[in-house]
């Protein structure tokens, strides 16, 4: 087990460096100069009717000055090596935008994204697993077909559209005012409120975004659950259990369900990278200051340090989650033993 772990971790290294190198190259080679963007585009935003030749010269000097400050004047491979060197001390540098450390900016937005992801994942599992069980035990019944159809309809609806509709119809505009049209708390929010009022306000604001984030996931997971259940239902041990005279309820929930949950547990690990990448669409729709928004804005502004940091962290988390699901598999399924496989 230990040697397997070490082997896997060592294998992750080249993958990781490959990912960062490709990401670095793509980001830096994409058109758009962060210095020019900082200077306001230079042409339309030249201020009072353009730039004189002298001032243009001064701006060009300022641009150069700025590039030197952030090390953007060096050749690309040197920039990458500098970036790698800083990475070993977990230093992602400072944002081009406001000179603030990238770590601080990420940590500031992490809670929002984590809250969204955790609640929506929980909701997906809470809805999809019972749905999958029902579909499997009532295979080909009307109920099965209805839930499957419903889940797929939801899956097919793009969240940016449903989200916009939800805001327009239920956000208090011309129609109903059931949920707030975005934000994290109300305009009149005060920290002096009693805790239940604060909690209620926050929950009310998270309700719609969490719903929007999760509805698309019902289809995938419930189908997964359904096929896993069906596969186990056909196993011999189920027949044995039934012939022993066990109640159907016990057969399903004790024997079949337990075995069917194994693949579900392993795919749970794949949630982890989602915790940091966040959802650009939902966060933008509902004006939630999460990580998705941060990275999206960073891409538009060519804020390299932030883009690279988010990218690095989420690729590390992806690699870790893959490893974790393999390990989890051995935990929930004793039949799998790594030491033998790797030997």
């Amino acid at each position: 087990m230990i040697s397997y772990l070490i082997q896997r971790l060592l294998l992750m290294m080249p993958t990781f460096f490959g990912i960062t190198l490709i990401a670095f190259l793509i980001i830096h080679l994409a058109p758009g100069d962060p210095a020019e963007l900082r200077a306001g585009g230079g042409l339309a935003a030249g201020g009072e009717g353009g730039l004189s030749t002298q001032r243009r010269g001064a701006i060009d000097r300022a641009l150069q000055e700025w590039r030197v400050q952030f090390g953007l004047d060096k050749p690309l491979h040197v920039q990458y090596l500098v970036w790698l060197k800083n990475l070993f001390t977990l230093n992602f540098g400072v944002s081009f935008k406001d000179n603030q450390p990238v770590w601080g900016k990420i940590l500031e937005r992490l809670p929002v994204t984590i809250k969204l992801e955790v609640w929506s994942t929980l909701l997906v599992y809470l809805v999809a697993i019972p749905l999958g069980i029902y579909s499997a035990t009532h295979q080909y019944s009307f109920g099965d077909q209805l839930t499957t159809f419903g889940a797929f309809v939801l899956f097919a609806l793009p969240s940016f559209w449903v989200g916009t509709m939800a805001i327009v119809f239920f956000g208090g505009g011309d129609f109903f005012y059931w949920v707030p049209p975005g934000g994290l708390y109300s305009v009149g929010y005060s920290p002096n409120w009693p805790w239940w009022q604060k909690l209620g306000d926050r929950a009310w604001h998270l309700l719609m975004p969490v719903l929007m984030l999760s509805y698309g996931g019902f289809a995938g997971l419930s189908r997964f659950m359904r096929s896993s259940m069906l596969e186990n239902l056909r196993q011999d041990f189920v027949q044995v259990a039934r012939s022993k005279g066990l109640a159907e309820r016990l057969v399903i929930y004790k024997h079949v369900l337990r075995n069917s949950l194994i693949p579900i547990v392993t795919i749970m690990a794949s949630i982890i990278p989602g915790l940091i990448s966040g959802s650009v669409i939902i966060e933008t729709l509902f004006s939630l200051p999460g990580l998705g928004q941060l990275s999206y804005d960073a891409v538009l502004a060519r804020d390299y340090p932030i883009i690279m940091a988010v990218f690095t962290i989420s690729s590390v988390l992806t690699l870790v989650s893959i490893l974790l699901s393999d390990l989890l598999l051995s935990v929930v399924d004793p039949r799998i033993a790594f030491s033998r496989r790797t030997a």
């Binding site: 010269g57 000179n99 934000g183």
Partner: protein
């Protein structure tokens, strides 16, 4: 008529319904408020007339306001209280007045910081603010001496002194402060000295009438707050402007502290104090109850207790927020204005204001290109361009045709400019005069230029993603095709477009310029020297008389003489048509009707500076909760 929004006229028809709370009020109050609204509506009407005539407004308007207020015993005087919650599309980058570089931040900072002089939003004239008067200008026009007023103090109670002004220019000139782009605009300031604790003298490199404007506009930062260790004490402005190597250690220490520690905690002398900023959610400013300017003549008064700027980057959600009452003020998209914000319910709660934004879009003809060298060809191009139609279909009527580069509310603006109508017949005559004929029968006009037969074929470039410019290009292409001119249209990615434009690699471009609400100086754009070295004269316009005018204009300190020169300059452009000037766009902002004193200002739109809410209509408690 452009500046008067239709929504305001509707004030007259339904003046009594001001806010939701109204039905609870005693009848007497309701009527009073209605009366006030009628008066306000009439005033705006009067103001619109003024705009059209191009007169100076304030002289007539201010007494008008006073009259209207005297006529109303209740709520006639502005009262303090309530919050104004306005919409912002994204977070400001940071709130350090020197190192921030975006429009969102500068609008917030303008409530927190003050400068020596201020531009009157109504008359567009410079007037003293932290200074006692406009500066004394030495005979050689190089030295500017400001005397400070004694009664101004910062938000922490410490007085505003000459030392703070001196520190502010030092910080700005300090090469290590992360403000390279702001510094560019102060290159011409070479030295500054304190004559006594409240008198400061600046020295400029060359005589230039806009120096006063530049110096007067410097935000005054409290030295004791932004440089508590006083690192810059012995460093002079002259050293910072040229060579500071002798004091590099101090300068470095100062700059490091200044760059790193003041991104989110601004403090100045202005009427609003910075309260909080939750990233991605809101920025909160609070009225400073001890503001030094309260009740002082010549200082704009503020009444709203708190300004909250809610950050909502989804424009549709922002509109829903507005309708749900979570926002009091928001700039609308053209389609939101046309389709989503009409009807009684919206108009009961909100008034919409239309105003021109000080910038214009134009088609620039490369004057060095053999085809467009000919004045008659450029004139013909303007006659071919149906600008009125474009305003109607491309801008949804939210715009106005312009005929020159000067903002229409500036005294320099020339009313007598000829506005070229859409007249293809006239255009064809001009082209015929210029020798363009279809000699080879291929359906495209041609002409012999420099010994070669050249077909009338060219390319219009613009930046991709800009739908307005695209529609203009396509409309013109369509029109020209009918008359035997083959124009192709090309959208380019912004950076590539910029590069092409700066290096004169184009036949025609569609771009825009900002218009100055200050005294304009278009030297950069039109002087022949600016055609080289990536200057802003991208179209290589060359006219010796324009060169002379622009040079003389910069050295002229007599405002009337300047206006005269600038009108001649506009007239030359009007005849030569180096650009086909297209239009200014208009913006539409919706504001909750509970705010009084809302008006469209020549300086560019609405400024929620002296707005107020009658006590009975106030929606939020006057106390900001401690956050």
């Amino acid at each position: 008529m452009m500046t008067t929004p239709p929504a305001q006229f509707s004030c007259v028809s339904q003046p009594r319904r001001v806010g939701k709370q109204l039905p609870w009020l005693p009848r007497k109050n309701r009527e009073c408020r209605g009366g006030l609204h009628v008066a306000a509506a009439c005033l705006t009407w009067k103001r619109a007339l003024h705009f059209c005539l191009g007169l100076v407004l304030a002289s007539l308007l201010v007494p008008g306001v006073v009259l209207a207020q005297k006529g109303q015993p209740t709520e006639a005087r502005p009262v303090t209280g309530d919050w104004l919650i306005s919409h912002m599309l994204s977070d400001p980058e940071q709130l350090n007045p020197l190192t921030s570089n975006d429009a969102g931040a500068s609008s917030i900072l303008s409530y927190i910081f003050e400068s020596l002089l201020k531009r009157d939003p109504r008359t567009l004239e410079l007037k003293p603010h932290l200074a006692l008067a406009r500066p004394e200008i030495a005979a050689d026009k190089l030295e500017y001496t400001f005397k400070l007023r004694q009664d101004a103090h910062f938000q922490d109670g410490r007085p505003v002194t000459g030392e703070d002004v001196l520190f502010s220019i030092k910080a700005l000139k300090c090469p290590l402060v992360n403000a390279p782009f702001a510094r560019v605009y102060y290159e011409s300031i070479v030295d500054a000295q304190l004559l006594d604790p409240s008198t400061i003298r600046f020295k400029a490199r060359e005589p230039y009438f806009l120096n006063e404007n530049v110096l007067g506009g410097i935000d005054v930062l409290p030295r004791h707050y932004y440089d508590p260790e006083n690192f810059l004490k012995d460093v002079t402005v002259a050293e910072l402007a040229s060579d500071y190597s002798k004091r590099e250690e101090q300068v470095r220490k100062f700059a490091q502290n200044f760059n790193e520690n003041y991104a989110r905690n601004p403090m100045g002398s202005g009427p609003y104090k910075f309260k909080s900023w939750s990233t991605g959610q809101e920025v909160v400013l609070e009225r400073d109850p001890k503001y030094w300017g309260t009740g002082k003549e010549g200082i704009d008064q503020v009444y709203v207790d708190a300004r909250k700027l809610r950050i909502i980057n989804n424009i549709d959600a922002a509109l829903v927020n507005l309708k749900a009452g979570n926002l009091d003020m928001m700039t609308l998209q053209p389609l939101q204005h046309l389709r989503q914000t009409s009807g009684g319910r919206f108009e009961k709660d909100f008034a919409k204001y239309e105003y021109p934004t000080p910038s214009y879009t134009y088609i620039g003809w490369n004057n060095a290109q053999p085809i467009f060298r000919d004045i008659r060809v450029r004139q013909a191009m303007t006659y071919f361009t149906n600008r009125q139609q474009m305003v109607k279909t491309v801008l949804f009527d939210l715009g106005q045709v312009v005929d020159g580069p000067v903002y229409r509310f500036r005294p320099e603006y020339d009313e007598a400019l000829y506005s070229h109508p859409y007249d293809p017949q006239k255009a064809l005559e001009l082209l015929g005069e210029a020798g363009w004929k279809d000699t080879d029968g291929d359906g495209i006009l041609d002409k012999e230029i420099d010994g070669q037969r050249v077909p009338f074929r060219f390319e219009i470039k613009f930046n991709s993603g800009n739908d307005i410019r695209k529609s203009v290009a396509l409309a013109l292409q369509d029109e020209l095709r009918k008359h035997g001119i083959d124009a192709s249209v090309r959208a380019l990615d912004w950076t590539i477009f910029l590069d092409d434009v700066r290096n004169h690699k184009f036949d025609a471009v569609i771009v825009g310029w900002a218009m100055s609400v200050n005294e304009p100086d278009d030297y950069q754009v039109w002087h022949s020297s600016q055609a080289a070295n990536k200057g802003s004269n991208m179209i290589s316009y060359k006219n010796p008389r324009v060169d002379t005018i622009l040079e003389e204009y910069r050295r002229t300190f007599d405002a009337n003489k300047r206006i005269e020169l600038y009108r001649e300059f506009q007239h030359i452009l009007n005849v030569e048509q180096p650009y086909t000037f297209l239009f200014m766009q208009k913006a539409v902002t919706a504001v909750s009707r509970r705010f009084q004193g809302v008006e469209v200002l020549p300086i560019g739109g609405l400024r929620p500076l002296d707005w107020w809410v009658p006590k009975l209509l106030q929606k939020y408690s006057s106390q900001l909760s401690a956050q």
